[in-house]
């Protein structure tokens, strides 16, 4: 450990101890392995994990949608998740983002933040962004305003009343607009976009949000091959700085971006490895890829 | 030709339309009649009808409009006390005239208002006295039942004081209120039964507001509480309200008013006949098939006629002159007595009738005062009124 890291660690510890005295622990004082005292607003990735799910279970009216799921993602990793329809991929994202409460299990962001103790907005503010399987944008607002709202900034009421875009932020907006091919439609109402355009806009919003961890549910569904390729490129540039979890059924897309692939089936992990490894896995071929 | 405008300010829509619409019609009939006789001061009366829509602030606005824009000489209108309270400052400010035709709780006297309906002592107190009498069933225990608003509250306050003065104890009085538009009287009726089962003869004094009466009486009838067990005397139930009720189970329950349609005398025969003809001619829904008259209609009719007489006497429509001329005006009312406008307190001297409901929805008069009663708007049964004179003064 380098001296400055030690220094940083010491400082962090001090602040955390202070916060603990004041009762402001992010983990609520849980002392699971990953439940160390945290400093608010900072994701502790010292364990080499930005996301960690352990033994998660969810059932709906007796149907076990998630069944003993264990998964972790490293900082900067681009993880692909594949698996049959109904395997529980979307449900897993629902759990991570606070939309669904698991019946059992733990979900940590970094090693200190217990996501089960936070609400959707807090989780988003912590730095987890999500693109939904079905594109959801603010239909009555313009494309530009959609992006502006997603912009990472102070999101409290007082601030938003007096908010104006800085030049830098404007540049960011313009850049993202170009990236998502909607520069011409900046002042168009988002509700009037086509399906694919909405998907792009949603990705753009995610980019504006600048999250630490991006959850992308079928990002290239409904895109042409060319656009799919572009998206792959985009994701590859994001990886490293951000952690990504991508759910897709498009194998060529997965091939273009993947390093590590997890196969989910019936609510738990069926296989994990490089794309070639899992593609060779008989069970994966059986339930998912087909012969 | 020059006309004299008069305002008619009754709700033709909203919750009060049910009661007030017919007052507008009877006012128009009275005006037609006066015009047929040549009008007043040689001029025809021109009615200005507006609809304040059962909305109290709108009453004030419409009153202003009638006075300011239309320059009416007098306004005939209002039913609820709150509507009157709403317009009162307008009439006082503009020094204009309002004729108010409905029985009310008193506690008010304005120089600019003539009250042609009953004050509590012209309705409520005689009714209770009657029930205490042998003929009324010698009631000893009392249920004061009303809709939760000012008229019932005040009336019941006066009645409670009156009953106490007559030696009735507090435990022999039950006071119950229901919200406006209440339509489920099961519990209340059960409570009345319970209260009545304590042995002593019980009577109910109902100040239930018009709309809730039908469900109340229907429940009463079906629960088998007959007039012989527990008589109910009501102050807001007249011929119009009973139109909506199957009256067979209610025979014998009572109402107190200053007029009943069933009163037999030539003046009333003429009045009811005129009304029937008018309703037919004007195609007034409901009344064209089954013409009914009631107390506030009579009061409206008296009010307009007295005002016309007063204008004729004063030879002017000037408010102050008309007020002066109103004092002591008399009119041969359909109720069979000559009603006199009090010289001072702006209320009519009115006879009081007590009627029992008949199977046909009319009232059988079982008791009446020997002659007209002078109104006591500042009831002596309210302590704060001690020493208050029943004299209307400008404020």
């Amino acid at each position: 450990m380098t001296p400055d890291l030690m220094e940083a660690g010491a400082q962090r510890f001090e602040k955390a101890a202070q916060a603990a005295v004041l009762g402001q622990t992010e983990s609520g004082g849980r002392s699971a392995g990953y439940g160390r005292i945290a400093k608010a607003g900072e994701v502790d990735t010292t364990h080499g994990r930005i996301l960690y799910l352990e033994d998660v279970h969810v059932s709906f009216d007796g149907f076990k949608a998630i069944n003993g799921l264990n998964l972790d993602i490293a900082p900067g990793e681009l993880r692909c998740i594949i698996g049959p329809n109904g395997a529980g991929k979307t449900t897993m994202m629902d759990i991570i983002t606070g939309k669904t409460r698991p019946d059992q299990g733990s979900v940590f962001f970094g090693s200190t933040i217990d996501l089960l103790r936070h609400r959707e907005a807090e989780i988003a503010a912590l730095g987890i962004g999500r693109k939904f399987q079905k594109p959801t944008v603010f239909e009555q607002l313009s494309v530009f305003e959609n992006l502006e709202l997603a912009l990472a900034t102070d999101k409290r009421v007082r601030h938003s009343m007096v908010f104006t875009l800085t030049g830098e932020e404007k540049d960011r907006l313009a850049e993202v607009l170009t990236t998502i091919h909607l520069a011409d439609s900046a002042s168009r109402q988002a509700g009037l976009l086509s399906h694919g355009q909405k998907e792009w806009l949603e990705i753009g919003m995610l980019l504006m949000q600048d999250p630490k961890l991006l959850l992308l549910d079928e990002p290239v569904a409904g895109m042409t091959d060319e656009e799919t390729a572009r998206t792959a490129e985009l994701f590859l540039t994001l990886k490293g700085k951000h952690s990504l979890m991508v759910v897709e059924h498009d194998m060529s897309f997965i091939r273009a971006i993947s390093e590590k692939v997890t196969v989910l089936c019936d609510g738990s992990v069926l296989a994990e490895g490089t794309l070639d490894e899992v593609q060779a896995d008989e069970r994966v071929i059986e339930v998912y890829l087909g012969r | 030709q020059e006309t004299i405008k008069v305002g008619v300010l009754h709700s033709l829509s909203g919750t009060m339309a049910i009661s007030e619409t017919v007052l507008k019609d009877v006012a128009l009939m009275a005006i037609d009649e006066i015009n047929a006789k040549g009008g007043v001061l040689g001029k025809k009366l021109e009615p200005v009808v507006v609809d304040p829509a059962s909305n109290w602030p709108l009453f004030a606005e419409k009153a202003k409009q009638l006075i300011d824009q239309d320059k009416v000489a007098a306004v005939f209108g209002c039913w609820t006390s709150v509507s009157r309270k709403s317009v009162l400052p307008v009439f006082e400010e503009k020094n204009s005239l309002l004729f108010y035709p409905v029985q009310y709780e008193g506690e008010e006297l304005s120089k600019n208002v003539f009250y042609t309906g009953a004050a509590p002592n012209q309705q409520a107190i005689p009714a209770v006295e009657y029930l205490m009498s042998k003929d009324g069933g010698s009631a000893k225990r009392w249920v004061l039942l009303g809709t939760d608003y000012v008229y019932p509250r005040t009336t019941n306050k006066i009645l409670r004081a009156f009953l106490k003065a007559k030696g009735v104890k507090d435990e022999d009085i039950m006071e119950e209120y229901t919200p406006f538009g209440h339509s489920d009287y099961q519990t209340i009726i059960a409570n009345i039964k319970k209260f009545a089962s304590a042995g002593k003869k019980t009577a109910v004094v109902s100040t239930i507001n018009g709309d809730s009466n039908v469900p109340f009486y229907k429940e009463l009838g079906n629960a088998g509480l007959s007039a012989k067990d527990v008589p109910v005397v009501a102050f807001s139930v007249g011929e119009e309200e009973l139109r909506g009720v199957d009256t067979k189970p209610l025979v014998g329950h009572l109402a107190a008013w200053n007029y009943f349609m069933s009163i037999k005398n030539p003046a009333n025969a003429e009045f009811t006949k005129k009304w029937a003809a008018y309703a037919k001619a004007k195609n007034i829904a409901g009344h064209k098939d089954k013409p009914l008259t009631n107390d506030p209609m009579e009061a409206t009719y008296i009010g307009i006629n007295m005002w016309a007489q007063a204008v004729a006497k004063a030879k002017s429509t000037d408010t102050d002159k008309v007020i002066a001329a109103m004092a002591g005006q008399t009119f041969k009312a359909p109720g069979g007595f000559t009603s006199t406008m009090d010289k001072e307190n702006h209320h009519l001297h009115k006879p009081v009738f007590i009627g029992e409901i008949k199977a046909d929805g009319q009232f059988n008069v079982v008791w009446k005062t020997p002659g007209p009663v002078v109104a006591d708007p500042w009831s002596d049964y309210i302590a704060e009124n001690k020493g208050k004179k029943n004299v209307a003064m400008a404020k």
């Binding site: 305003e145 709202l149 997603a150 938003s160 850049e175 | 609809d51 709150v82 008010e108 509250r153 009124n385």
Partner: protein
Amino acid sequence: MTTQAISPSVALPQAGPLLTRPGWSAFIVALLLVCALAPVLNLLVPEDSAFHLSGYMVGLLGKIMCYAICALAMDLIWGYTGILSLGHGLFFALGGYVMGMYLMRQIGRDGNYKSDLPDFMVFLDWKELPWHWALSDSFFATLLFIVLVPGVVAFVFGYFAFRSRIKGVYFSIITQALTFAALLLFFRNETGMGGNNGFTDFKRILGLPIATPGMRMTLFVVTGLTLLGFYLFARWLVGSKFGRVLQAVRDAESRVMFCGYNPLPYKLTIWTISAVMCGVAGALYVPQVGIINPGEMSTAASIEMAVWAAVGGRATLVGPIAGAFIVNGAKSWLTVAFPEFWLYFLGALFIAVTLWMPQGVVGLVKKLRGGKA
């Protein structure tokens, strides 16, 4: 985030000014109408002149301007945030009652009973002022409470409702339940607010007689200025990012959360602002119409506020104001011109607006203009 070069061709939409140039011109005209023309026409032009503005008209316009404030408030919460309140009548009435209490105290001993207590208390058996009347004789406290009472009620109610994520009709219905409960409460004699008669027969405000043309004009001007002020305020609010978040909440609340916004404080803020605006409108209304009673809390009264906003055009700011003037103006005229038929016209107006002017009157005007251009 990406390292791509910024393409210079991207033209970002500019944030608009508070008002456009014609907007400012119209605003100034309105300001002049309220502050100069109306007083002159009412007070200086002789009564028999064709240009005289009658006292009745002043009262009517004043009343409608109060309604316009309500419509504006309604629009902020409904048009922009997508929360339909069927309970704004309550806030209006609360503001009105606070003002009414003050005005009742101003009567002093000039009431019927020459008592320190308001008349209704005297004859309904109150022996002393109930606790909630404590500061009612102070004008300053009254001003404070006009804002605080509706504000706090709205805040507390809103906090719990929004925290429980009550949405859509569920929210609408509980606001209706709230108003209805308050209506019943205020009807009761025990509440000490004058029962169904409420408060009337006001005599003075700030010690000055209330029923004079001068005072009436003063109230009119104050109301007009308040309306214009609220209009600017609302403009600023919806033009800010705050306003856009509100619209985003309306369109997709869960997405807003996933963008990192906590919708609760946003909804609560606009809800409370809207309630306070209604309260202020109520407080201005009472001295002008001369009565406040629980009728203002009836469900129909609250629904009507929504109707004004819808007729004028939701999610625009001029719309609700126009709507309040159109509906109430029509009502005032029709109840006199066609006392027996006016409900047909009004009913038909509502139906016609929904069928043929989904964007309200403002939307229609825009369309006509757009068509020509």
